[in-house]
């Protein structure tokens, strides 16, 4: 783990500084790291609480939109947009909004959702509906940034976003954010809070019977996951250079779920690897045979659900089990049977 941290924080940026990695590649790697953050956000809920959210891309995009609004507000020139966008012109204000906005949306949506004790399936559909609804609301704002020049971006704290040094700094910040978030989630997993949350996966009524207000736990997890996704989205925007209502499209959230399935639900490191790997794969496929992508994604999803439900993380164990069956050695004995209790 430490090695990986060094590689990301020092190795890759150093290679970029020497010109061995192009800015475009650096960008791609950085965005994939952001998607890893999004995958963590999905896994926090799904692996951590059994709560499938098909709308985490919404919070990802919310973080991105806040930064985009900031960059648009500080852009010189006439194409600055409506006056209310000027609220985002101050950098501290934008930082606060990135941290708070996704959480607030999650709170507003989650509070009635969890109080109503709606079934997990309905919750998943409701998150999709939320995405679709907010996507429509964002149409008046439209696309921010990008080559279209309708709403170009200004400088980030004075530095030109396109500049390679700026991009390198953003990459390092992204890597650092991923490491901090990953570490934080690992810590969270060891708390009694996480114990209660995981117990919700198996039986909410038993948890309630033990005296825990399940709705509160789910709400906290949901808001925290939204916060994490927002950070990822904010950093992603700085590297992607543009954002539009399409970022909230339902398929974006579903793609995040596929990353988690492929990586290994509940393992945290699995979704990180799944997201990173599949993002890189996607960019390669989109360049060479774009029509293949959705078929590939869907196929991977079905394949993993059927044959490798533990994800890539479970692969070594699966292979070992298969190896044992094929090999001449007998299979390892099952765990010791419970002895008869003494009177």
């Amino acid at each position: 783990m430490a090695g990986l941290a060094v590689l990301l924080l020092v190795g890759v940026p150093a290679l970029h500084a020497r010109g061995l990695i192009g800015t475009e590649t650096l960008n791609l790697l950085g965005q994939s790291l952001c998607y890893a953050i999004l995958a963590i956000s999905v896994d926090l809920l799904w692996g951590g609480a059994g709560l499938l959210s098909l709308g985490q891309a919404l919070f990802f995009a919310a973080g991105g939109y806040v930064v985009a609004l900031h960059l648009t507000a500080v852009a010189p020139g006439a194409a600055r947009g409506p006056d209310w966008w000027q609220n985002f012109a101050s950098f501290p204000m934008a930082l606060v909004a990135v941290a708070a906005l996704p959480g607030v949306i999650a709170l507003i949506f989650g509070f009635p959702a969890f109080r109503s004790r709606m079934n997990g399936m309905y919750f998943a559909i409701a998150t999709q509906a939320l995405c679709a609804g907010l996507m429509i609301l964002l149409r008046p704002i439209g696309i921010l940034g990008g080559p279209s020049r309708t709403h170009p971006f200004g400088p980030l704290l004075g530095a030109d976003l396109q500049d390679s040094v700026t991009q390198r700094t953003v990459f390092i910040a992204t890597a650092a954010a991923l490491l901090v978030i990953y570490g934080g989630c690992r810590w969270l997993n060891g708390t009694r809070f996480a114990l209660v949350l995981r117990a919700l996966r198996d039986g909410e009524s038993r948890v309630l019977f033990s005296g825990y207000a399940a709705a509160n736990y789910k709400l906290f997890a949901f808001v925290f996951a939204a916060f994490v996704a927002g950070i990822g989205g904010a950093l992603c925007l700085l590297q992607a250079g543009q954002i539009g209502p399409e970022s909230l499209a339902p398929d974006k959230s579903i793609e995040a779920v596929v990353w988690v399935v492929v990586g290994g639900r509940g393992t945290l490191i699995g979704p990180v690897c799944g997201a990173f790997g599949l993002s890189l794969l996607k960019s390669w496929v989109m360049r060479h045979c774009p029509d293949l992508w959705f078929a590939l994604l869907g196929g991977l999803f079905v394949l993993f659900l059927l044959f490798l439900p533990e994800g890539l993380i479970g692969l070594p164990r699966r292979l070992a089990a298969v190896g044992r069956r094929i090999g001449s050695k007998p299979a390892s004995p099952p765990p010791p049977a419970a002895p008869i209790p003494s009177s």
Binding site: T191, F193, D202, G211, A338, P341, S343
Partner: protein, 254 residues
């Protein structure tokens, strides 16, 4: 005579014309183990439901401790008073270890922030170790709960109730599905709890009842009323009780 912990006076509950409980008077002194006997439909579960606050009585008083009116409190409030109930089928967290099941049940704040910052204190650790010894699952503390034998699951669940440091334990058929050895162990376990805790056990199984009722009193319910109350021998000798059991064939004859 220790002070009364649970008092029911003239307690009545009817469901759509069916009198589940009618004019029941009942007193459980603190620290006592009382057996609640009676055929199915006699009102045992209804009585438990009333005590835990799941349902409200139609009339009568139901008090706990120093005059606390249970009929005015919500379920979670009653649970915080120290009244814990165990149902017939074990309700554990099957994917968790024995230890984790107990940790989850520990008495303490149930709020999100409390559990985020919670660190298992040495006091809590000792308490859990003692509980594990008491329920006989110390060697299996890292076993997954669903790998335990049926009897062990029941003991784990009793352990989980004890982790909340309850004042009153309501046990619904704790011996159901147990082997003879498991029943003996369970009887010893429950009797060892008297004094520190008060127990009200609803049970049909005569083997278990005989093992546990040596020093305890029995309240016999029939059709929602208290038919007899006293020591087990007196109850079984009571002609009214025999009539109830005789009418049901082999059930009471073990």
């Amino acid at each position: 005579m220790p002070p009364p912990l649970l008092i029911a006076r003239d307690l009545t509950k009817t469901f759509d014309g069916f009198a589940a409980l009618s004019h029941v008077d009942f007193t459980l002194p603190k620290g006592e183990l009382r057996l609640l006997m009676g055929p199915k439909g006699s009102g045992k579960s209804t009585f438990f439901d009333l005590v835990t606050g799941q349902i409200r009585p139609d009339s009568g008083r139901l008090e706990f401790g120093e005059g606390i009116d249970l009929t005015k409190l919500k379920e979670y409030q009653i649970s915080h008073l120290g009244i814990s109930r165990k149902f017939q089928a074990p309700r554990l967290f099957p994917d968790y270890s024995v230890w984790d099941n107990l940790v989850l049940s520990l008495k303490g704040s149930r709020s999100v922030f409390a559990t985020l910052l919670y660190r298992l204190s040495s006091e809590d650790r000792d308490h859990l170790q003692d509980l594990l010894k008491l329920i006989g699952l110390l060697p299996k503390r890292d076993w997954n709960a669903d790998r335990l034998a049926h009897g062990e699951k029941q003991w784990l669940e009793i352990g989980m109730l004890l982790a909340t440091k309850p004042k009153l334990l309501l046990l619904d058929s704790p011996a159901a599905g147990m082997t003879d050895e498991e029943m003996q162990r369970t009887a010893e376990l429950l009797v060892s709890l008297t004094g520190k805790h008060s127990l009200l056990i609803a049970e049909h199984d005569m083997t278990f009842i005989r093992r546990i009722a040596s020093d305890s009193r029995v309240t016999f319910l029939h059709h929602g009323s208290v038919l007899a109350e006293g020591r087990l021998e007196e109850i079984l000798a009571d002609p009214r009780v025999r009539e109830v059991y005789l009418g049901r064939g082999k059930r009471g004859q073990k």
